[in-house]
């Protein structure tokens, strides 16, 4: 479903600051895959997502989604089938606008016309979907989203993304900015949506336990490369220690991410 062919991204090419953030990555994602991605800070995980979503363009290589070459497609066009959630819960919604306005914008992706979609029927539909979140948001359609907590906003972002039925979702540490309780809640909601809607998912996490526990495939990245790629039983049975050990054997250096060890 997604095919990435020898993808590279060099920042500040030809200057002293030249930085090869993604180094000839090849990757093939099947429909229904749930891939977790780990790697130290600066490994290139976010850059990989930026390339897939079209936020930045590769220096070399090709990206195919559903058999179509999208390498040159701008981000807004790819957004029709790639959903993305950021670490920052404010990134997914417009805080100066009401909940119902936000949801109307997200209701269908792509070019907007001069028609008025928001009516009472649509409001009922929104209320029904919001009540699934169990946060009481169904009674706050006319409240500005800026009044909601980070957890509520991230839940809303998830819901808005799911409404547009994306082919692929990219989650970039999307619970990292939340307190433990909210992080748990958002993670559970994510897992539920992935299951209910059979979403093809790539999830970056700094929590090695989560990376092992969830999904059917695990990628470990370092210095712009995918250095370890396991799925099925191999993935299910791996331990944190084995992963760290693997990293040190492959890279011949110490795994320096404290966060990972603590989690």
């Amino acid at each position: 479903m997604i095919k990435i062919h020898s993808l590279s991204k060099v920042f500040h090419e030809g200057t002293v600051n030249e930085n090869k953030a993604i180094n000839t990555i090849n990757l093939s994602v099947k429909e229904g895959d749930f891939i977790t991605i780990i790697g130290s800070n600066g490994a290139g995980k976010t850059t990989l997502f930026n390339l897939i979503s079209g936020n930045i363009f590769p220096s070399t290589g090709r990206i195919e989604i559903n058999g179509r070459d999208v390498t040159k497609d701008p981000e807004y066009r790819r957004a029709a089938y790639v959903g993305r959630i950021f670490q920052n819960p404010t990134m997914g919604t417009a805080e100066t606008m009401t909940l119902e306005d936000n949801m109307t914008i997200a209701y269908y992706k792509g070019c907007k016309g001069l028609r008025k979609s928001l009516n009472n029927k649509l409001r009922d539909f929104f209320r029904e979907k919001l009540s699934d979140l169990d946060m009481g948001l169904e009674n706050r359609l006319k409240d500005n989203v800026g009044l909601f907590s980070g957890g509520q906003r991230q839940a809303l972002t998830l819901l808005m993304m799911v409404l547009s039925k994306p082919d692929l979702i990219l989650l970039d540490e999307h619970t990292a900015a939340l307190d433990p309780g909210n992080a748990r809640m958002i993670l559970d909601l994510t897992l539920k949506y992935i299951k209910d809607y059979n979403l093809t998912t790539m999830m970056i996490t700094h929590n090695m336990g989560h990376a092992i526990k969830y999904g059917n495939r695990l990628l470990m990245m370092d210095s712009g490369e995918i250095i370890y790629d396991i799925e099925g039983d191999t993935k299910k049975n791996i331990t944190k220690e084995a992963l760290i050990n693997k990293f040190e054997v492959i890279r011949k250096k110490e795994f320096e991410n404290d966060e990972v060890l603590l989690s």
């Binding site: 950021f86 990134m91 606008m97 306005d101 016309g113 008025k116």
Partner: protein, 304 residues
């Protein structure tokens, strides 16, 4: 005098609606306004002198203003120029274009030319005072524009335009091309500004290529004055606030013009006063923001 302030406030209010769209809705501080306001005025004047129907004139003026905004948006989009600079570029180019529209003159009088104002005065046939006739016309016009604008901001594209100024990434994530939206928004804004210029020329009885100097600042001052009146997240109230702000601003300027000489002020000081008004507004709203921030810190649980 009150009628005069109201009529002027409404005429310039159309321009302030445009400034509101760029500065507040789109978060795109657009200085094209200083050029598109006289653009509307000179184009309207020339068309009226040539004997065009004022309605045709307004259509042309709307289109010309939209085109001016489109140029600014395109410079910003395609050349990745900051929006302020893009607006200044268009504004500067418009200065020459406006002189060309006036056939190498800097101004043109509109005496003995049929305008919407002479038309409305005739229509009432002396049953009401001239000032009242103008006021009725402007209230009707501005009301129609305001309602249309409110409706527009409730459509899907209007809502998305609102989101653009707040969170561009969200708009992209929802599959909308922000460049197109900017053309729509900045275009619409300058179309309104030009229409306002078209009315101003007919009201003042002349068009002058210099009549745009400082217009954007007075528009911004009006927006900010309006913001002190009340708070809302409903577009119908926000546009109403803009118009009230514009009328209040004209009132303040009137006071400055007619009573200012007691403190040795001349009409030339009005731009200085306008700037000081904005600075005061900024200081007051900054302190207000600090207050609400402080309050938020005290009661974070309420917001959860």
């Amino acid at each position: 005098m009150i009628e005069g302030i109201l009529v002027e406030g409404l005429i310039y209010g159309i321009m302030v609606l445009g400034v509101f769209i760029t500065f507040r809705v789109l978060d795109f501080p657009d200085l094209t306004v200083d050029g598109s306001f006289p653009l509307g005025a000179v184009l309207m004047a020339v068309m009226l002198i040539r004997g065009f129907n004022p309605l045709v004139g307004f259509l042309a003026v709307f289109a010309a203003g939209f085109a001016a905004g489109t140029v600014t948006a395109l410079i910003h989009n395609k050349l990745k120029v900051p929006n302020l600079l893009a607006g200044i570029l268009t504004m500067t180019m418009l200065y020459s274009i406006n002189i060309r529209i006036l056939q190498n003159r800097a101004n043109v009088p509109l005496i003995r030319t049929e305008t919407v104002f002479t038309w409305i005065t005739k229509l009432f046939g002396g049953t009401v005072f001239e000032g009242t006739a103008l006021l009725i016309l402007m209230i009707a016009v501005v009301l129609i524009i305001k309602v249309l604008l409110d409706l527009f901001f409730h459509t899907d594209v209007g809502l998305t335009l609102g989101a653009l100024g707040c969170n561009e990434q969200m708009v992209i994530t929802q599959g909308v091309n922000p460049e197109v939206l900017k053309i729509v928004g900045v275009g619409l804004s300058n179309a309104l500004v030009a229409v306002s210029g078209g009315f101003a020329a007919q009201y003042l009885g002349f068009a002058d290529v210099n009549m745009g100097i400082g217009i954007v600042v007075s528009g911004l001052a009006s927006v900010m004055i309006g913001e002190f009146l009340f708070r809302s997240n409903r577009i119908a109230l926000l546009t109403l606030r803009v118009l009230l702000g514009s009328i209040l601003f004209k009132g303040i300027m009137y006071l400055g013009r007619y009573y200012g000489y007691y403190i040795k002020m001349t009409p030339n000081d009005l731009k200085l006063i306008t700037g000081i008004l904005i600075i005061i507004s900024l200081i007051v709203s900054k302190n207000k923001k600090m207050l609400t921030l402080l309050k938020k810190k005290e009661a974070p649980e309420v917001l959860k």
